[in-house]
Symmetry: C2
Subunit: 338 residues, 2 copies
């Protein structure tokens, strides 16, 4: 039977600093009628991503500013439960930006069909493929353009994107150094994921340790973090190095924090620092998917999901992610898999 009532997580106020439960409210509402060309989806997983904190700022970003009373934006995965579009059949898995709600009625063009990936689990659409895998693959390969033998450093290396970036760097023949918080995460990077080295940014001698882990300097810095880590990386970059500006998670709670003091290294070392957002149309999924699926099938790309339960988990899940308390790709399950 198709649902007619819906639960939604609505924005109550734009958070200042850390996200609080009070910045949101849960609401129940009837689902709108399904019009021609639309589909009704039932949400299964919500992807928790650092960029959600950007979306919560009271300003337009690469997407329009979220207004009070709007459904919190998210990349969501679900199943079509009713359809008035030839593009999506009932029972098909789809992904889209319909946000943090248990059901949604959306235009057929606003959701993307998901290919079958068995024997991989459904969560691999977020832990290996989808926007996570695309970000890692396209960011490293297309923006960073590493050559075999070069040194790739990735920050937030134990995160969903970072752990794929490091493994892809190894597959491409690079020396890969991960930066992560805590000894356990660092051990996971070297012992399980095959990074050449991992450096704990909580160490007092972090700067010296990172330098030691990069005896030939840094050729590609895949930056998920910004802030002081970007500043340090600037001092270790080699001439003609590339900085993949994927995210600046350390600055998302306060976008006006102090900037990198060593920015003049961009001139002195002829660096290229380039931002990208995987939603942009120039990022073609085909090449990325072929490689990610092949490498995963060969056992060369490991990925894992960290699953929380229920819509009400979303606000704290955002904090959890920004504070590095998750292990694996962070998801919130709001409905059962069929």
């Amino acid at each position: 039977m198709t649902a007619t009532a819906n639960r939604q997580l609505l924005l109550a106020s734009h958070p200042k600093g850390r996200v609080r439960d009070e910045d949101f409210r849960l609401a129940e509402s009837p689902l709108p009628a399904l019009a021609e060309g639309q589909v009704q989806v039932r949400t299964i997983y919500i992807s928790i991503d650092p960029t959600m904190r950007i979306w919560l700022h009271p300003a337009d970003n690469y997407l329009p500013m979220l207004q009070h009373g709007e459904v919190m934006r998210s990349v969501s995965l679900g199943v079509v439960e009713a359809s008035r579009s030839s593009a999506h059949a009932v029972g098909a898995f789809v992904q889209g930006l319909w946000g943090c709600q248990e059901h949604a009625v959306v235009d057929a063009a606003a959701v993307m069909p998901l290919p079958p990936i068995a024997p991989l689990p459904l969560t691999a659409h977020f832990s290996l493929l989808g926007h996570i895998g695309m970000t890692a693959y396209c960011g490293l390969v297309k923006i960073g353009r590493p050559l075999a033998g070069e040194t790739v450093v990735v920050s937030a290396a134990a995160g969903a994107v970072g752990s794929l970036v490091g493994q892809i760097g190894r597959i491409l023949g690079c020396r890969v150094v991960g930066i992560a918080g805590g000894e356990a995460k660092c051990r996971h990077l070297t012992e399980v994921l095959g990074f050449d080295a991992a450096v704990d940014y909580r160490r007092d001698d972090f700067a010296a340790a990172l330098k030691e882990a990069c005896p030939k300097g840094i050729d590609v810095y895949f930056d998920n973090v910004g802030g002081e880590m970007l500043d340090l990386a600037l001092t270790l970059m080699n001439v003609f190095g590339r900085i993949v500006a994927c995210g600046m998670i350390s600055t998302y709670n306060d976008l006006s924090a102090a900037g990198p003091r060593n920015i003049a290294q961009v001139v002195i070392k002829r660096l290229r620092m380039e931002g990208f957002v995987i939603l942009d149309p120039q990022h073609d999924a085909k090449e990325a998917y072929e490689h990610l699926l092949k490498w995963a099938a060969e056992g060369r790309l490991q990925h894992r999901a960290h699953i929380l339960e229920g819509l009400e988990c979303v606000p704290d899940a955002i904090n959890m992610l920004l504070e590095g308390r998750n292990q694996g790709k962070l998801l919130v399950r709001v409905g059962q898999e069929p």
Copy 2:
């Protein structure tokens, strides 16, 4: 008759902040004997460039650190007065990094022959061509890649590089906005050089005025200045904008000054920020020279030299440049043209 004695400007100490005369000393010394494969040059003009302040920091940069007692580095232009190389005949004009001295004995490969450019004056090798013209042309065309109709903003727009960048941007069909210090310079940009708009950064309402001058945002920011102006430009950049990181003159007296707070815009707006140094071999002079000479002959590119007299002027000339007190390409004449 060929000189056998030489006057040199030597580094006495690495300046902290503003350059002082005491950071240098003038010395007289005999010229070394000319060996096979070498030439002896007589210096005519020394180019005063912002990068000289970078060279004076006590650290390696894109060139090795200058040591106490070394001749101050500069791009110099002179005439061959003795030669034991088939590459350069006596009387030929050459350019090289032999620095602030009246004569020099150098390897033939370390100097570059200068093509005849009459009816242009000899100083046009620095005000239109050479490293200045190459920096403007390659930086804007190859790094910035502006399209007709886009908005190009250039800082230090009344400087040698900036004034060429703006004029080239106009030739390419862009809307060109210059940033300069003071009303007189701004008037020169719009009334003489044909910029679409010029904004005086000393105005109290500078940020609002720059925004108003760029009603469609900024597509290419040619940055000679860094610091607060870079920070402001980051807020006005359009999606997929490009920042040509040519120089960061505002930070050269203190390379550890605060960095750009708005650096996260690189991610949010998918910007590319790319540094370059015109000495790098990938910058091919041929294309740049053809265009610069053609446009100058057509009267579409104006350039002028601001000439000081004597080696002892060099230290204050560097300050003059960093403080924007020059009008036109700043040169120090240390010998007469033949």
